[in-house]
Every structure is written in C-alpha cells, then in structure tokens.
C-alpha cells in the first residue's frame, strides 16, 4: 500500500479533519489538529487495511530562527511540530516490505502565545506503550505538554532542570548546583 492510498483512506474517514497532506515529501505525511490526534491514531492502528501498530518515534521539531537578521529568509513561521513515525507489523507486497506512515501535529510555540506555558497535545500512551518514554523525552527536551500522560516527568535531564534545550531560543544555564555552565 502506498502512502497516497493511506492518505486516501484517512481523508475518506475524516474528511476536512485531515488538515493538510504532503505526498511530494520524501516521507509523505499528513497533519491533524491536536484534538483529533488520538482518534486518527486509533484509526491508523486498528483499521484492518492499515494496522500501523508500531510507533517508531515521536520527535519534537522547533521551527524558529533565533537570529533576527536571518528571520526574513528563514522560510517558515515560528511554530512547533510533533512528528509521529508509524509502521506496521505486517509487511506487505512481494518481496515483503515495511509499511510506514508519518503523522504531524502543528502547534504554536507557546500556549496562547504566552512564553513559558507549554502547548498541549493529547497523549497516545493508551495506544502504544512506546509513547510513554518518547512523550516524556519530547516534554523534557522540546517542551510539549502531553495531556493524559500517566507520568509526565523529565526523563533525560535532572528533575529540577530549567528550560527545554531543544527549543531554538533556549539559553544555556550559567550554573547548575554550583557547577559552572560556561
């Protein structure tokens, strides 16, 4: 099954709730609104024709050009993307090949434009257990709040760490518990 066919099935089911699609990309993807995420994911996982039952990766990507001189030619508006890479445990075709699909959620960098308040995405831990640690990592490093996550705490950084290092405007700390930062 090609990505175009997957997108076709999704658009047939969800109609305009599939916000946008990009079939020309190297890995074709669709974008959905945060409130539709869990429903679309459940459909992708449980629909008999699709069966994307493996969540490979969740990544947070911060689109921001921190240098004011370069903003004009950066080519994007500041926003945050959460990217879900899915695959199916049933290889298809002859010879059998892994089926993959990419789903994206586009978020404002801060909730309601207020720096410091994290944008929210519903958690998909109820569908894939992989999401547990991956969402904690995205929360930890990219600063996205996953609502409904059973234990959303920092995973790689220390519990009392301040800031989200994979944000482009992250400022390196000058000291941490008496250890000099630079």
């Amino acid at each position: 099954m090609t990505s175009a066919e997957v997108v076709g099935i999704l658009e047939q089911k969800f109609g305009p709730r599939i916000k946008s699609r990009n079939l020309e990309a190297i890995d074709p993807f669709v974008t959905v609104e945060p409130q539709d995420l869990v429903e679309v994911c459940r459909f992708l996982k449980e629909e008999e024709r699709l069966r994307f039952d493996i969540l490979n990766c969740i990544s947070g990507v911060d689109y921001l050009e921190p240098d004011p001189k370069k903003v004009a030619k950066a080519g994007f508006e500041p926003h945050l993307e959460v990217v879900y890479h899915l695959s199916s445990s049933r290889p298809q075709g002859t010879p059998p090949r892994v089926q993959r699909f990419v789903l994206k959620v586009i978020l404002p960098r801060w909730k309601e434009g207020q720096p410091g308040s994290l944008p929210e995405v519903p958690s998909v831990t109820s569908l894939w257990r992989t999401a547990d640690w991956h969402e904690r990592e995205v929360y930890d490093l990219s600063g996205v709040f996953f609502t409904g996550h059973p234990n959303l705490t920092r995973i790689l950084l220390a519990e009392d760490w301040v800031g989200y290092p994979l944000r482009k405007d992250y400022e390196y700390p000058l000291e941490y518990h008496g250890i000099r930062g630079r």
């Binding site: 493996i54 490979n56 990507v61 049933r90 992989t130």
Partner: protein
C-alpha cells in the same frame, strides 16, 4: 518447548521463582546502579521489592546525556558523524551508517556499489564485535568470567582490522556521508578472511561455554518472558523482538535488512533468525532471556556469512568508495531506520527551508531506549537476582539511550 499458556506470557505454575513467605515482609526500595557492574554503564534502577520479589522497577536514565541532538542542529552532517560514534559505542560503525543513510536520503544521493559493499562488510563485522561483547558481558552478569575473555580475544582481532581501515579502535567515523572515508587497505581482504576462518569454529565453543551450560540455562530459561504483542507495543526491535516472534505462527522475518533493504542487502544470502529453535532446552519458553541470547548467537553466524559474501564481491565492485556530498542540505525531512545490533536505530534529519549546511533538527531514535522501557513489565514478580539476567538479555548500551 513451551506450552500455549506459557507462550501467553504467564509464568509457569511450577516456577521456582514464586517464593512463598511465611513471614510478613516490608516493602523496600532498593537502588541498583548507577555504578552497579551489571547495569551496563550508568543505568540506575529503583526496585520496589517485597523481600526478594520485585513489584516494580523504575529505570532512571540520563546519566550519560550529552545533548547529541542539540549538537546535531549546530554542526554540519559530516561534523556530526563523530558524535554518532559515541551513541552506541559498541557498534559505532552501524551508527555512522544510520546517520549517513538519513542524510543521503535527504540529499537524494546514490552511493556507488563499491562503497556499499565496504559498508556491508564493515557493518557486519561490527555486528559480530557487538554481539561478542553482548555474549561475554551477559556471561559476566550471570557470574561466569571466562566467556568474556574469549569474546574479547576475538573482538580484539576485529578492532585490529578496523584500526587498519580507519586508525581508530572504538570511535571510527569511518562510514561517512557519500560512502566510506577510505578504501580498504592492501591485503585487508585476505586478513579479514583469515580472521573469519579463525572465528567460525570458535562459535561452537561459545555454545558449549554458555548456550548449553546447565547453570546458564537455569538462569535464563523461562526468565523475563516478553510476549510478542507487548514487544510490539513497546517498540522493541532487533534480537529483543525476534526472540519473541514465532515462525510457526506466521510472524514475519522482522529484520530491516530483509524488509527494508539498504546498501544492497537484498542481494545477499542470509537467514533472519526467528524462533522456534528445535535445539532449545526443554525449559526455555519463547520470548525468554535464553531465546534473546540465542538469537544473537545465531545472528553472529549469519553476519560471518554476510562478511564473506561482501569480501567476495569487493574485488569486482564498481565505482569509487566515496562520492562528494552537496554543500548545502535541501529543504525537507528524511527518516531512516537501520538494523543495528541492538535493534532498529532511526535517524530523522530535517533540512532548513532556506537551504543551509546545518540541519534544522537531528533526532536519533534509539533502539535500546525502547527496548529498556519494557524492563518494568519483564521484572515484575521475579527475584532480585533475575534483574541482571533480564537487563543483560536486553543488551543495552547507555550511550545510545541517553545520547
């Protein structure tokens, strides 16, 4: 072999690890690591125990976090290659390969045949080295020292071969974007073949030392049983997942070298190791520590076959060992997963829309990270002494988990 109820992940009723206590015990929190020798680096496990029986395990990560992803978005892809070495430092070549393939996919580069053959030879040699360490260290976890020495004797020879091709013994940065850094040196193919001829009969010795060792079987069989569906839900890959699959149930040969071939793996003849194994000891249950270990041991033999085929192809392979990469990365994004010794290692590279030599985002999907997340489910209800056996069978490398 296992019965149906054992396959469903339930512990067999006659399991001796289910200990009955006639004394009331208090719940206790036990810290294991981050300096515990059997935690393979700096992993800290907080065990909630009732006497000897574990009720919860919570892994604490991050002791080896070096912000690799943040560094990745500040340096060019070629500058990032040395950082990938330091992720899974036992299989640095495979890490180099994964990142190179991701950047090549983003740039739309086609790597010449000769470079691909060298990549297969080198990646499979590193898989052998990594599985040897996995085997030796696993023996060490379970209290036997000698397999470790044998494994390191053989690994040393692979390191010597790597030293000949790139000058380094641990962090190679040899496989790079567009091919490999240098062509193989003169006489290397011959030396590599000699090593393989030396290694082949040794594998049987390891089986005698560990696989069929009575104590080893007692410590690993029917311990830490991972059902297939739990493995898929947790995103477990590599030997961890394959140890839980069952060919007779129609499970696929879950190996990306077979299902999503890169570097021309589809033209090589090799077997994907999927249970059941007729030679398994009677106590072993599908998805237990013994199966995970045995999958690794058989993969080692397949890798020897792959290296031999690569060496055979190398003299007639066309093209150069390396092509130039574009000066700037195109806009767009690419995600590539490769079959590394510990599972599927993914790299996600996002190029800047306003073309630049530095990517906007580099993400590493670590296989050990997902494999380790299943520890809590595996360890519940087992004894403290089984924790090293279970964590060892996952074969983690903390450098890759913490990045």
């Amino acid at each position: 072999m296992a019965t149906a109820e054992q396959l469903s992940g339930q512990r067999p009723a006659q399991d001796q690890t289910i200990v009955e206590f006639d004394v009331r015990t208090d719940e206790m929190l036990v810290n294991m690591g981050p300096q515990h020798p059997s935690t393979h680096g700096v992993l800290r496990l907080v065990l909630r125990t009732d006497g000897e029986v574990i009720s919860e395990v919570s892994p604490h990560l991050g002791y080896l976090h070096r912000c690799a992803e943040k560094i990745g978005e500040n340096v060019t892809p070629i500058q990032f290659i040395p950082y990938t070495d330091r992720m899974d430092y036992l299989a640095a070549m495979n890490m180099n390969l994964g990142y190179s393939l991701a950047v090549e996919k983003l740039c739309g580069m086609k790597v010449p045949e000769k470079a691909q053959v060298i990549r297969v030879i080198i990646a499979e040699l590193n898989r052998i080295a990594s599985h040897l360490v996995g085997m030796g260290a696993y023996g060490l976890d379970l209290g036997t020292f000698s397999p470790f020495l044998y494994a390191f004797r053989e690994r040393e020879m692979i390191l010597d071969l790597f030293e000949d091709v790139c000058g380094a013994r641990l962090t190679y940065s040899y496989i790079t974007i567009g091919g490999v850094h240098d062509d193989l040196p003169e006489g290397w193919v011959q030396r590599c073949q000699e090593f393989l001829d030396y290694l082949k009969p040794r594998v049987e010795e390891y089986h005698t030392l560990l696989t069929r060792n009575h104590i080893f079987v007692k410590r690993t069989a029917a311990i830490g049983i991972l059902p297939r569906d739990l493995a898929l839900s947790h995103g477990c890959t590599g030997p961890m997942l394959r140890g839980s699959l069952d060919r007779s149930q129609g499970d696929p040969e879950w190996d990306l070298r077979r299902l999503e071939p890169y570097c021309g793996y589809d033209q090589y003849d090799f077997r994907v190791i999927v249970p059941p194994f007729p030679e398994a000891p009677a106590e072993a249950v599908l998805g237990d520590c013994w199966h995970r270990f045995y999958v690794r041991m058989l993969e080692l033999v397949e890798s020897i076959k792959l290296v031999e085929q690569g060496l055979h192809r190398y003299p007639s392979a066309q093209g150069s060992h390396r092509i130039e990469q574009p000066r700037v990365l195109p806009a767009g994004e690419a995600y590539v997963e490769t079959e590394c010794p510990r599972g599927q290692m993914g790299f996600y590279v996002v190029g800047r829309p306003g073309k630049d030599a530095v990517p906007l985002r580099v993400r590493a999907r670590s296989s050990s990270f997902c494999n380790l997340s299943v520890t809590d489910d595996l360890c519940r209800g087992c004894l403290i002494a089984d924790v090293p056996a279970i964590v060892g069978s996952i074969d983690i490398v903390m450098g890759e988990i913490d990045r």
